[in-house]
Amino acid sequence: MAITDAPKILTSRLGFEDSHTLERYLATGGYEGLRKALNMTPEAVAAEVDAASLLGRGGAGFPAGRKWSMLRQNPVTYLVVNGDESEPATFKDHMLIERDPHQILEGVLISAYALQVSQAFVYLRGEFALGLERLQVALNEAYAHGAVGADIFGSGFSIDVVVHPGAGAYICGEETALLESLEGKRGFPRIKPPYFPAAIGLYGEPTVVNNVETMANIPWIVTNGGAAFAALGAGRSTGTRLFALAGHVRKPGNYELEMVKTTFRDLIYAPVLGGGIRGSNTLKAFIPGGVSAPWFGPDQVDLPLGQDEVGDAGSMLGSGSVVVMDSATCVVRAAWRITKFFSRESCGQCTPCREGSGWLERIMYRIENGAGREEDLDLLMDLCDNISPGVAWPPQQTTICVLGPSIPSSIASGIRMFRDEFLVHVKEGGCPFD
């Protein structure tokens, strides 16, 4: 079977120029899943999502069905959709929001029905100006179509959806920070426990928070059945997933691939996918799941694109973003820039993260710019150890949220895989790639 043979669950409409319009959506089976769901019991709809074994597509990979079942034991008050996509090099939700907003809305409406909530918020990253407009147009159309509002499609079920803009803060992708932000506050992650907003969510009420891509899968699951979804992929990683391929490949882009059945090698090198490394260079390293993830080397390209498979190999599939670095890449500069990102985006609540990220960034900067010392390598690892004891994977945590323990990933990977390159920077008093 070819790597592109799996059904297109998320990207079936993207070949159409007008994929974002209601007209196109209805002409391609749109809102049929919602109509079907409204003729089922909420429990039966939830059971289909359970049967699909859909892992959340935001980054943590928690089973969506289980998140829902925690809530079905209590009356759920709110459904909140996390569209604050900001993990560096992740751009799948951006595409789904701009190119197929109705698919997301239909997922939200079906989920709201299964959870029996009457108000849903879609929190979109503020920088998605076009996405915010496209989703608002789609929502207006959906209200006029009778798919949202009072007594939708004559079912007796009523639901309102509000599109809510963020204002530029990576940390608001963390679900409790997102809820704080949605309450009109700074995006400070909440102290755990409780671990899930299912217990105490928006305004202290039971809330379910799901990612945009997770929602986009729901219409297909209800239409085709959870078993059909679970038949794709392998192990715990079922269905297809959007992989955002970026960096030094010939054809960067979003690719919807069947989980586990495809490898990083396929994604990076297959002519119909990444098309291989740019120019005549070779692969130096790649980041398998967003910049919070530890890096992999060329000897790991044959790993399958599965959550547990990547986890067992010491990293994570995370947000589904794969960054490819070729042989001409300075890994010190790459790791420095990632560290600078964390330093800028730390919310400042926890000392190890707030202080540690800044110290790490400054040390990385001086190594890259020729003022580094050999003992800086140990100092970096010691600081990483203060943020995440043991600097292992999965990481230990000294902070309220997982931003802290994500900081050491790039530095520790860089030092462990390319120690000599760091030392060349120190000994030559500058970057050899300049």
Binding site: P88, E127, V162, R186, Y203
Partner: protein, 211 residues
């Protein structure tokens, strides 16, 4: 005296009505105020505070946390040049250097004529078109130093005014309808929680007095 215009205030009230608590509209209202002024004027923050039922300091405290909310004036066009990992690998540092040199400022600065503000951005989620640039949060595609110069020219001449409104206008599409579903259950529960909270606060206050 309201700093926000009658139209903006009307739209603000419509937004407040969408949420179970007025405070939730704080960030959307900050965007609205920026639509009026291009940035968050202190008097606009006072109006937002009143509309959301919080203090002006709370508005400022929230706004100052977020990159897109500007508590000081910015240019008509905010140029966000991403230099995060995917763009870095695509030559973003060179592009940023070029932008600083042609605009005659460092990232974070505004040109003396108030037209351009240059912002070194974190990942903007458009990583297959690098280096990625947004103008007023609208994607303009991968840029080279040459296309960047042309972009500045187009912005100055108004050639892009259709696609890129002045800074502050984030969403040009308005919500067509208010809330439709019956919210009485939510409203009743919110009232109950507020009552319980007030009772706890009162109990806490009297406890403190006894001690």
């Amino acid at each position: 005296m309201s700093h926000l215009s009658a139209d903006i205030r009307q739209r603000a009230q419509e937004l407040v009505a969408l949420y179970p608590e007025p405070r939730s509209a704080l960030i959307p209202l900050c965007h609205l105020a920026q639509e009026q002024d291009g940035w968050l004027h202190p008097e606009a923050m006072a109006d937002i505070a009143e509309l959301c039922g919080v203090t002006a300091a709370e508005v400022r405290g929230t706004a100052s946390f977020y990159d897109m909310l500007h508590i000081e004036p910015v240019g008509t066009y905010v140029l966000s040049v991403c230099t995060n990992i995917a763009c870095l690998l695509g030559g973003a540092l060179e592009l940023l250097e070029h932008a600083e040199s042609v605009l005659g400022l460092r990232a974070g600065g505004t040109t003396p004529d108030g037209v351009f503000t240059l912002h070194e951005a974190e990942c903007l989620a458009d990583c297959d078109r690098t280096p990625c640039v947004q103008v007023n949060h609208r994607y303009v595609g991968a840029q080279t130093p040459e296309t960047f110069d042309a972009l500045l020219g187009d912005l100055r001449s108004g050639a892009l005014s259709e696609t890129v409104p002045a800074h502050g206008t984030l969403v040009r599409v308005r919500r067509s309808v208010g809330l439709q579903a019956d919210r009485s259950a939510i409203v009743a529960e919110r009232a109950q929680m507020a009552e319980a909270q007030a009772a706890r606060a009162a109990a806490g206050a009297s406890g403190g007095a006894n001690a």
